[in-house]
Symmetry: C2
Subunit: 341 residues, 2 copies
Amino acid sequence: MSNAYNRPDQLSPELRRRVLDTARRLGYPGPDPVARSLRTRKAGAVGLLLTENLSYAFRDPAAIGFLEGLALACEDAGTGLLLVPANPEREDVASVHRAGVDGFVVYSVPDDDPHLAAVLERPVPTVVCDQPDLGTVDRVGIDDRGAMYELARHLISLGHRRVGVVCMRLARDRNDGFVTADRQHAAHFHVQRNRLSGLAEAFSEAGVDWSQVPVVERFDHNMASGASGAAQVLDKDPQITALICTSDVLALGAMTEAARRGLRVPHDLSVTGFDGIREAEAAGLTTVRQPVLEKGRAAGKLLLDSNERSRPRSVNLATELIIGKTSAAPRGGAEERWFGP
Amino acid sequence: MSNAYNRPDQLSPELRRRVLDTARRLGYPGPDPVARSLRTRKAGAVGLLLTENLSYAFRDPAAIGFLEGLALACEDAGTGLLLVPANPEREDVASVHRAGVDGFVVYSVPDDDPHLAAVLERPVPTVVCDQPDLGTVDRVGIDDRGAMYELARHLISLGHRRVGVVCMRLARDRNDGFVTADRQHAAHFHVQRNRLSGLAEAFSEAGVDWSQVPVVERFDHNMASGASGAAQVLDKDPQITALICTSDVLALGAMTEAARRGLRVPHDLSVTGFDGIREAEAAGLTTVRQPVLEKGRAAGKLLLDSNERSRPRSVNLATELIIGKTSAAPRGGAEERWFGP
DNA sequence: TGAAGTGACCGTAACGGTTCAGAACCAATT
DNA sequence: AATTGGTTCTGAACCGTTACGGTCACTTCA
């Protein structure tokens, strides 16, 4: 029977026709994909674990780019892409257990997330993205630390010494406010931890006492958070000459707050982002561009040709420092004479 | 055994512990989701069929909004969302057959698409979106025809009589150029067909010979298409006072072309769109806003509570005419005295 | 003390396909 | 005529799980 559908060469055309005819007459809807998957041990789909609220993936431009790249890789391979809901509120690991997939891509979740643990227990290949190297599964990411270090060097060379930071959530608990050094080090989001540590290193080297730098955290990732985070930093220390945001979305929000306060960017305040999304380019933001689409595509490729037990691979994609028109030497800064526009 | 995982109440805690212990010792990875699906006849996922190149879904703002709404509905119900690749080039219906899902959502595909036919043959509930009412499955959409009629009335009341149109693809074959009346009527994309027919009706009523109106079609849906489409219309008839685009993305592209030609919008040329995406709002575009997120959510809800054999439901969501600053009375037009700004 | 009732546990039969071994058949060769 | 080879077709095993009904021990009540 299944031969009639899948192996036309294995039987005579006449029998095939007869089988298909009676099948249609009996109202047979064609082979059941689930039963087929059980037998062949291939689901024909890869799972994408997004710990964030599922709809978040469609709001964040960087996440959309990643999704697009991953979808492209899946399309090339002819497999589907299953978005696995993983609501962080109820610890509903069941969704991971219930997903019939040939492998998982894990995108930017906290490293202590129970869903991630559940994925790693499943006997399928996995690629983690923007995560620490687990040593046991493939990984794709960028050098967040190095890229942010480079951005910090840019600001330092412009003459900035008194700065503030707005970052995304650092752990699963909501903490909208200032961040202690401890919390920075213990951050469960690999990406944010490394970006902060790149900043800390560069500014420490430049003689800045990092523990005195105001770092504000926001749980939600949108422009409003960027604006309110910027407000909190500027209230704390109105003397800062640069505001460093760990994402473009936050930075764009920060720009609106600067405008609201009548601060001219970059004359009165430099603002920087991270990601290199289209909106940032349009705004001329100084930022680090990372190849989000390529990241998704690389994750998909890695997963889809998981050769039997080659040792875990780790891919780092290149980033590029984009110097836009939102960073300049601080007003009246000593260095202005040498580094100004 | 399965009880130990799924029905802790059916057995004593002691046995449960013992079972789970030996399971772990034997390296048992937990119940297999595919086998479970086979037995329970529930896949725990819904399929989304996008006939367009898969990555398209992540480029078009309206599609993203739809996806977000659908993802929200799925998240609420605790089911996954499977993106089914359906490359229009190779007629690869296998992807539809291979998808292990409890139902399908079909989003804006041509009504003669073989993938759609394949979905309808599958014995699972289906919701079509932006499609003609098939009478056999649930449907969600808007009144494209009526909404466009209303937009046309707005332009007519401003005094526009000589207009041009840029529309999205009308069928599966690529036809970048002028569109005959025949092709307009025979269009296989329900949405485009109805928008055009709303225009034709309104302008015909106003005494305009619709067959003389230049209508240009573009296969790809991006701003560049809008720009080149606008150029083609303006080359054909530089006298037009309004350019009607069947999507905001095309309209935004048309605006860039108008600017390139030194045409001031709306003074020299009115431009209108359709969808109500964020970028259009930012640009002050005159357009029709449709609730894309709600459309996705409605499709998901419809699918997920498919009560046994209720007769097919059809949902029409409300739209809203947004009069922005890209439409005004034509320069020197007779009506200007009464309707001008 | 025996019958009936209760709850925990276990064995087995599907679910619907794929695969593979071998039966049946036919033709050609020794 | 018997053996060989090749092709087409049939049947049974298996994939891993859950639903279901039956067994068994143990309690309860007459």
